[in-house]
Symmetry: C2
């Protein structure tokens, strides 16, 4: 299964790297299609899955029923606004020690954790205060 070069994959990766709002497969499709109207949704899904599998992008399952994708593969936390649904990076240090905390109470090996924060984003706070 040697990887071959593909224009479509390049476009998808490039698009993702230019955004920091964690778009869904459909958003990727809509945008990449403007540059290449022939690309199919299946190809977008296939490449997003492939890129995530080889670790070039990150797949985010935020519990909203849709997968989000992030070209930033460094470990970092995310915030989801319950008002507008936007996904925002959190620039905070890792709280990896909670993995150790959890391990003390558990019969087995804990190797990691997934955490996302939710609440109201800055923009939505403003709107709510103005009302």
């Amino acid at each position: 299964m040697a990887l071959k070069h593909s224009r479509q994959r390049d476009m998808i990766k490039a698009f993702l790297m230019g955004r920091k709002d964690h778009p869904t497969a459909d958003v990727v499709y809509m945008n990449v299609r403007q540059e290449n109207p022939n690309i199919s949704l299946g190809t977008v899904y296939r490449n997003l899955t492939l890129l995530a599998d080889i670790g070039e992008i990150q797949r985010l399952r935020l519990g909203d029923g849709v997968d989000h994708f992030d070209a930033d593969t460094s470990p970092h936390y995310h915030f989801i606004c319950t008002e507008c649904g936007s996904v925002i990076d959190l620039e905070m240090e890792s709280v990896e020690q909670i993995t150790e905390t959890a391990g003390k109470y558990f019969n087995g090996r804990i190797t990691g954790h997934v955490t996302y924060f939710y609440g109201t984003c800055g923009a939505c706070c403003k709107v709510l205060n103005a009302q």
Copy 2:
């Protein structure tokens, strides 16, 4: 929208209360059907959603593409085994302070967080060590 009593809802709630392995809707359906073969999958979904909405059960979105349900509505953490997929309660204190930590770095209001831990459960560790 006054709630009316229903045998099906009782059975679903009772089944969930008797398990601590966080079953999916389909597992609930399979089991409740043994006692009432006429119950439909739609009814199971409708009641799980209703019970979660009124706070009598908890819906868990663990990122595996399927919703899990938990009759234990107290805030607690979950562990997911990457080997066998089982979901196990973690008896640990809340790490609610990470919400404050995150808040310091964020322009907006953070009201909560979702965390789950993953790794290898006790049973799977045993199997792996035996190999």
